[in-house]
């Protein structure tokens, strides 16, 4: 590839972020990855790299600092400055692809044939999903008004609206809404026939009104006989909404719309969220961080406050729909960030299906991908505008994680599923999250040219299962009612420190129990064969993955299986048996101090690119 000047540099040091440890190895630069090889190899996908920084030359070489979107931070020291500069400038070019064609997804080939690829894309079917919710029905119908993306470019083709909403009403309403995003159905709570609808802000300015839009809301209201009202949730802080009025936008005036109950819920905008995450990462990235600085930093970053705000909004939504049986219309400014967060999280609280692996994929596909959350802009996929980047989707994943902490048996998946999805939102390895809208994805012919992440994740479903998941939990808790006491919100260490091994628990209950459960299933489904010749090799309690590992050293399991304790007679190893890694204090001028052997083993939770 023309951008790579130096494909290989030897004697490169990889420094640990939090201790003084380092390992020496060889750095390879390929068209798609940066690979560091010592006794184990670490590979970083170029798309994951957020920034590269060349620090000033030191006595032992030239430091290169690489910050990744998956919160990994790598610090190399390259002996010769020229090599460092070559790597640096190559990376600068490589991590800024100028066209979609350059994204990894278009070259990634998992050795599947076209049929398999197609099947992968057919896994998620949103029409079937609306059918599952009970739509179309006597009050809601599919409209073809956006078939050609003429009414709204950022919406999907298929949209569900109240029976009473005629095409002129829809078109009129769309003209009164930012980016044409008129109110449409996103979730239908069958039990009470209550709907969750979403849209963007009205173009009301200080006094403008639109009869079609008013009719639209009335149609939504009339479609639900349970309640005389519909709630309109403006997910922005009131001040922001007020400010928008000056720009001819704004919020619904209760006087103009009959029977609405209007409510602000105060989730901050993308810029505040971006700043907040930045502050959070700065704090937790500090070496020898004191508890005081950590807690003060956590508070000042506002991160958990924002997470709680999103959760509060989703709980309000779920309660209104399930308890009051009222329909709710959710919007923010453009209706693709906060609105997506609140609708998706609210649906997850209301519907146990979304707490399964498949259902969660459907939920993301529906509320995020199809309704046009701007993944390309927010996740910085292509020649980005830094002002558009924001961790909106990350926050959604974190909210789900916070819920898994309160309801350990409610979710079919474990946090590694969430983390893996997060990896791939940024990896650009699969087509699902590329681009900003459904229309753009069609233009890019993603279904023909790339693979679907969902098929990939399902193929390794074993790794993402929550061992204590109980399907019957859904029966006793169809609607989740989480507590929003501040102390229930925790810092998500496994997400933001995924690659900082020294911070993780050295033994993972999750992995341990998952392996046990796996082996339970295996030994029941295939009881030990009575075979005299193979008995000594037949280890029925070994999990599938481990057998594979025994056979083929090259195959490492994905993160959820790494460090998995062997079940039969295997000795459990304890990770991190290294005092120096933890930095308890400097033993200055310590006598007889020996250097730790490099105890770094397989990285924890690495999304390995199987290319």
């Amino acid at each position: 590839m023309e951008h790579i000047r130096t494909p290989k540099v030897e004697q490169v040091k990889l420094l640990d972020r939090f201790s003084n440890k380092s390992v020496t190895g060889t750095l390879h630069l390929t068209a798609t990855h940066l690979i560091f090889v010592e006794s184990n190899s670490t590979s970083i996908l170029h798309h994951h790299i957020a920034s590269v920084e060349k620090l000033s030359l030191k006595t032992n070489g030239c430091p290169l600092l690489i910050q990744c979107r998956n919160f990994r931070l790598v610090h190399f020291v390259i002996p010769r400055e020229r090599d460092c500069h070559d790597i640096y400038s190559s990376l600068l070019r490589l991590l800024r692809p100028v066209s979609y064609d350059e994204l990894y997804a278009f070259s990634y080939n998992p050795k599947q044939n076209d049929q398999q690829r197609e099947e992968g894309w057919q896994l998620i079917d949103l029409a079937a999903e609306f059918e599952r919710m009970g739509v179309p029905c006597d009050q809601w119908q599919l409209t073809d008004v956006n078939r050609e993306y003429k009414v709204c470019k950022t919406y999907p083709r298929d949209l569900y609206v109240p029976i009473m909403a005629s095409k002129p009403i829809i078109v009129g309403s769309s003209k009164f809404r930012s980016k044409g995003r008129f109110p449409v159905l996103t979730y239908f709570y069958q039990e009470k026939k209550a709907a969750v609808c979403r849209c963007s802000q009205p173009l009301s300015g200080f006094s403008a009104r639109c009869l079609e839009d008013e009719h639209m809301l009335q149609a939504i209201s009339k479609a639900n006989h349970n309640s005389r009202y519909i709630y309109v949730m403006d997910t922005r802080p009131k001040l922001n909404a007020l400010a928008n009025r000056a720009a001819g936008k704004g919020y619904e005036n209760e006087d103009n719309y009959s029977n609405i109950r209007f409510q602000f819920v105060g989730i901050e905008n993308i810029h505040v969220m971006r700043g907040s995450l930045q502050k959070l990462l700065e704090v937790v990235g500090t070496r020898s961080l004191s508890m005081t600085d950590y807690l003060v930093g956590l508070e000042n970053s506002g991160w958990l406050r924002h997470i709680k705000a999103i959760m509060d909004a989703a709980i309000f939504l779920a309660k209104t729909v399930t308890v009051e049986g009222a329909s709710v219309l959710v919007h923010c400014s453009d209706g693709w960030d906060r609105t997506a967060q609140v609708c998706a999280l609210g649906s997850l609280l209301m519907d146990p299906y979304y707490r399964t692996i498949k259902g969660f994929m459907v939920l993301i596909e529906k509320d995020w991908i199809s309704f046009g959350h701007k993944f390309a802009d927010r996740c910085d996929q292509l020649d980005p505008d830094p002002k558009e980047v924001s961790p909106i989707f990350t926050q959604f994943l974190e909210c789900v994680w916070q819920l898994t902490e309160q309801f350990p048996q409610a979710f079919e998946f474990s946090e590694w599923f969430l983390i893996q999805i997060h990896e791939h939102v940024h990896s650009c390895q699969f087509g699902n999250f590329l681009g900003n809208s459904q229309r753009q994805r069609e233009d890019l012919q993603l279904k023909e040219r790339t693979y679907s992440l969902w098929a990939h994740l399902l193929s390794e479903k074993q790794n993402y299962l929550n061992p204590v998941y109980s399907p019957s939990f859904a029966e006793s808790h169809p609607v989740l009612e989480p507590s929003t006491q501040a102390y229930h919100f925790k810092f998500w260490r496994n997400m933001y420190h995924q690659y900082d091994r020294s911070m993780h628990p050295r033994q993972s209950i999750l992995k341990h129990v998952l392996t046990l459960k796996d082996s339970n299933r295996d030994s029941v489904s295939s009881p030990p064969k009575i075979n005299l010749h193979s008995i000594h090799h037949n280890a029925p309690l070994l999990s599938r993955k481990e057998v594979q590992q025994e056979e083929d050293e090259e195959v490492f399991g994905e993160e959820a299986m790494e460090d998995a304790p062997a079940i039969t007679g295997g000795e459990r190893t304890v990770e991190g048996s290294s005092a120096t890694e933890n930095g308890y204090g400097e033993l200055m001028g310590s006598f007889g101090s020996k250097n730790e052997p490099g105890a770094v083993t397989l990285e924890f939770g690495v999304a390995r690119m199987t290319c």
Binding site: Q485, P505, F591
Partner: protein, 549 residues
């Protein structure tokens, strides 16, 4: 004194009991000499039996003739009793106040408690210094058991038998004792079998402002060093605090007099500061109206997590010196009865797999806390709701348990016990029917004749029926040294204690049950497979002669 004198109204009917996350119970309230009892007098409803000793403070409120008493317990629980009748309410309140603040130890419940179970193994015999010394002797002959403190005259807070370097005679011990705060001369705390390094503990040396020295003290600790080796002195105080101590006759080891030792100062807080930290933390946890920012800022302001981090870090440092640097260590703070014990006991949990078993952990508490003279009675007299002037209360032991919990969280498969055991120890240290945590040192316990007059906590815990609750289903013995992470991101708030009464744990408990179920099912299957294998092997051996031609 008769308890009856203190009980003005022994019984009130129609009392409502409110507890968080539980339905209100209406019933009869009874006061006995040691308990507050509320019974609904119906079969399957739970009764409340609360030890007066568990009551930290009470508040009363009146609305008309309905009185309300808010009872705040040392285990951090807060319950509310609605009592009809103002006089009854006032009587109950003043009785509770009197009964929960009895001064005399011998009036405490353990002296009246008769166990409903048969004591199979007497817990008072759990730790026998002579036997522990035999184990040590099998590994090294450098040490001896000294009876110098037989009548507790050399050091009133030490036990009668102490392990000291073989070459140091009792006379030297006495001289060293006079050079150390409270007579707490350096004694053996832990022997690291792997490399023969040791951890000792003591109190601060009494160098004073004019730099007094004591040859015997120097000789004593130097005797623990191998030839040519150097050791570390871990002073749990900052250098500034240690300097200040000189003015009051204390101090630290001067390099010039202890050339073979390197001194490291850490910053574990003094006990009175810790009490304040606990009060603030519990206050933050109990306030349900906090916004996120306020919660985080109050959590920070309590300093509790900082204390956990500092103690754990110091313990890890001590362990690191021993295991990684191959050096012996002497740990002390001021008195050597608080932060010193936190550090030495935690370091042993890190280093010694035996301490991670239930029995080993009990022995550790017995040896490093009870025998070593941690003043439990003073420290645990009040808990987080004390509103009087603090005397010598401090959650030193609770912080130790919190640190153990942190390590347990990071190594969930390496401990034989679970969180419940730690919580139970916390409860019993503050209020108990057992005599184990009464008194401040061995001398006091002997004088109180606890082993004859009360039941030991260990007698109860070690019964198989009880032990079951405390077993960790994930446990697989792990002989390695376990190094916990002390990064703030790795240390969590101990919800099991501090949020215990403020949240519903139903979902978490059920998930835990499911996990236990999976593990047990796995064991069952494993046994089945093993027995099939055995059968097969048998068949094989029976068949093989037939196959040989």
């Amino acid at each position: 004194m008769e308890f009856a004198e203190l009980i003005k109204t022994p019984r009130v009917d129609g009392v409502d009991l409110h507890r968080p996350f539980m339905p209100t119970v209406e019933g009869t309230l009874c006061l006995t000499g040691h308990h507050l009892i509320l019974s609904s007098r119906q079969d399957n409803t739970e009764e409340l039996w609360l030890l007066h000793a568990n009551i930290d403070s009470i508040e009363k409120r009146f609305v008309g003739s309905l009185g309300t008493i808010i009872v705040k317990c040392k285990d951090l629980r807060v319950i509310q009793l609605d009592i009809p009748g103002m006089e009854e309410c006032l009587n109950i309140a003043s009785s509770i106040e009197a009964l929960s603040t009895l001064d005399s130890v011998s009036l405490m419940y353990p002296f009246f408690y008769r166990p409903l179970f048969e004591v199979i193994e007497d817990g008072w015999q759990l730790f026998v210094p002579e036997e522990a010394f035999k184990d040590l002797e099998s590994m090294t002959d450098e040490w001896r058991l000294s009876e110098v403190n037989k009548d507790f005259s050399v050091c009133p807070s030490y036990p009668s038998l102490l392990t000291v370097p073989k070459d140091i005679d009792d006379e030297s011990l006495c001289k060293a004792a006079s050079f150390r705060h409270g007579g707490r001369f350096p004694v053996l705390s832990y022997y690291h079998k792997k490399n023969g390094m040791v951890m000792m503990r003591a109190a601060q040396p009494l160098t004073g402002t004019n730099g007094r020295r004591c040859k015997e003290d120097e000789k004593l600790i130097n005797a623990t060093l191998c030839a040519g080796k150097r050791g570390y002195i871990i002073d749990t105080r900052t250098i500034a605090v240690a300097q200040q101590a000189k003015a009051r006759g204390g101090g630290f080891e001067q390099e010039a007099n202890y050339p073979q030792w390197r001194r490291i100062h850490k910053a574990i807080e003094r006990s009175n500061v810790l009490q304040d930290s606990l009060i603030k933390l519990v206050e933050a946890c109990n306030d349900q109206s906090h916004s996120m920012d306020r919660w985080l800022s109050k959590l920070e302001a309590s300093n509790w997590q900082s204390n956990v981090k500092e103690i754990l870090t110091t313990a890890c440092l001590a362990a690191q010196c021993i295991d990684r640097e191959g050096a012996s260590v002497l740990v002390h703070g001021t008195e050597g009865t608080d932060s010193t014990l936190q550090v030495t006991s935690l370091a042993q949990i890190i280093l010694d797999p035996a301490c991670r078993t239930i029995r080993g952990f009990e022995v550790l508490i017995e040896r490093e806390w009870l025998q070593a003279g941690h003043p439990f009675q003073q420290r645990c007299a009040q808990s987080a709701y004390s509103n009087g002037k603090p005397r010598s209360e401090a959650p030193v032991f609770l912080l130790f348990l919190d640190c153990v919990w942190q390590i347990l969280r990071q190594f969930p498969c390496s401990f034989q016990f679970n969180e419940n055991l730690l919580i139970m120890f916390f409860e019993h240290a503050y209020a108990s029917q057992f005599g184990t945590f009464l008194g401040n040192c061995v001398a006091e316990r002997v004088k109180l004749q606890l082993s004859q007059k009360t039941v030991s906590l260990w007698s109860w815990v070690n019964r198989p029926q009880e032990l079951e609750r405390f077993l960790n289903p994930l446990y697989e013995p792990n002989n390695l040294v376990i190094w916990p992470s002390v990064a703030p991101q790795s240390l969590l708030l101990w919800e099991g204690v501090f949020l215990r009464w403020n949240r519903s744990t139903k979902c978490l408990d059920e998930a835990c049950q499911e996990m236990v179920h999976i593990i047990e099912y796995n064991k069952e299957l494993q046994n089945k497979v093993n027995s099939l294998r055995r059968q097969l092997a048998q068949l094989e051996t029976e068949e093989s002669p037939l196959q040989t031609p």
